[in-house]
């Protein structure tokens, strides 16, 4: 049944028998690092055996052993390439289906413009909340521009969860500020639309910020703990006592 595996299939990792004689040092290095060891299932495109040897669709965009620029060589090979767990597939299908099926009637209070007449002028004709929104929006942009200039490339930023979190934070403030600005200039239709968008991403902005804020400290803690065995004991003692 599995006779076709490894034959005429460039996406398959060669078996461990050829690892010592392989000229490709990168591939042999990868094999040594894999916790799973070489198995014929590493580069299978499907969980189920298929007799069709000519794949109609190439799953991997780059044949890079699942490690972009070698950045993820530290991960075992089986976590980088190969078929997905059927349980994860089912869970994902359940989640994607549920989000569509259980969609409520979306209603958001446009708080950025609903209390315009009740708010006191605080700065340049703006109420305090709008001034804060403008400050957050500009600060968010400044941080991104600064990162672009100082780090050279921030390609990973827009595709990371942290990046999404920061972009949401900046956008939420930007939408609320622009909504107020448009409403103040009598563009009520657009103001209402932007205020609704700004209002709709309030909770997700806050939750993402909380997750990033918490996880960053967990990450720093893990790095520190890995470097200090003595401190590990101290922290475990302090946590257990509290």
């Amino acid at each position: 049944m599995f006779d076709h595996i490894g034959k005429n299939n460039p996406t398959l990792v060669s078996s461990s028998e050829s690892s010592d004689t392989s000229n490709d040092s990168y591939n042999s290095k990868m094999k040594n690092k894999s916790a799973a060891g070489a198995t014929p299932f590493h580069r299978r495109t499907s969980y189920f055996p298929r007799d069709d040897e000519t794949p109609r669709f190439k799953w991997l965009i780059y044949d890079n052993n699942g490690s972009f620029n070698g950045w993820f060589d530290w991960l075992p090979l089986w976590m980088r390439v190969g078929y997905w767990s059927p349980f994860v597939c089912m869970a994902l299908v359940f989640c994607y289906t549920s989000i569509i099926y259980f969609k409520p009637k979306l209603e958001f209070e446009t708080s950025a413009i609903s209390k315009m007449n009740e708010e006191d002028v605080y700065f340049l004709g703006m109420p305090k909340a709008t001034a804060i929104d403008l400050s957050i929006f500009l600060w968010g942009l400044i941080v991104m521009v600064h990162a672009r200039i100082s780090l050279g490339s921030i390609g990973a930023f827009p595709i990371s969860f942290t990046g999404w979190s920061w972009i949401l934070l900046t956008s939420r403030a930007g939408f609320d500020y622009m909504a107020w600005m448009l409403a103040a200039n009598n563009y009520t239709i657009w103001a209402s639309k932007l205020a609704t968008i700004g209002s709709s991403i309030r909770l997700v902005t806050l939750i993402n910020a909380f997750v990033v804020w918490s996880i960053w400290k967990v990450r720093v803690s893990i790095v520190c703990l890995c470097k200090s065995h003595v401190l590990t004991k101290v922290i475990i003692t302090s946590l257990s006592s509290s």
Binding site: L75, V88, V143, C224
Partner: protein
């Protein structure tokens, strides 16, 4: 709660960070990277900035089921990008969401649960502020 959060985050963590990293170049690099302008902003100042006008300020409002739905929709949209684009490129930023291990179902469940938990807790906090 504050009496526990404050010492752990703002006293204990910096001490651990200083003590655990060896003195010299490594410590300088570690601190420079983790506490630089960019990292401090996107990882530490993000929560206070996000809280403004959402759970503090004059325009506070309670979150509804619509807000929760948008939060889930954004999270699942990110999962589409992560699983169907980044995974195929070989970018594995978050191994706990690796689709090749069944344990990811637990991580997924935990994230969905955490979102709901935070939704309830933030509303509790806002009710306390409004009262």
């Amino acid at each position: 709660m504050i009496t526990r959060i404050f010492p752990r985050n703002f006293i204990l963590l910096p001490i651990i960070a200083f003590k655990s990293v060896p003195k010299g170049e490594k410590r300088t690099q570690f601190l420079k990277f983790n506490f630089g302008f960019f990292m401090t902003n996107i990882h530490l100042l993000n929560l206070p900035l996000a809280s403004m006008n959402i759970i503090t300020g004059d325009r506070v409002r309670l979150f509804t089921i619509s807000d929760l739905w948008v939060a889930y929709a954004v999270a699942l949209s990110y999962s589409l990008l992560y699983l169907f684009v980044m995974d195929r490129l070989g970018l594995h930023f978050y191994p706990i969401f690796n689709p090749r291990t069944s344990f990811t179902t637990i991580s997924l469940g935990a994230v969905l649960g955490l979102f709901y938990f935070l939704f309830l807790k933030f509303n509790e906090y806002i009710i306390g502020k409004l009262d």
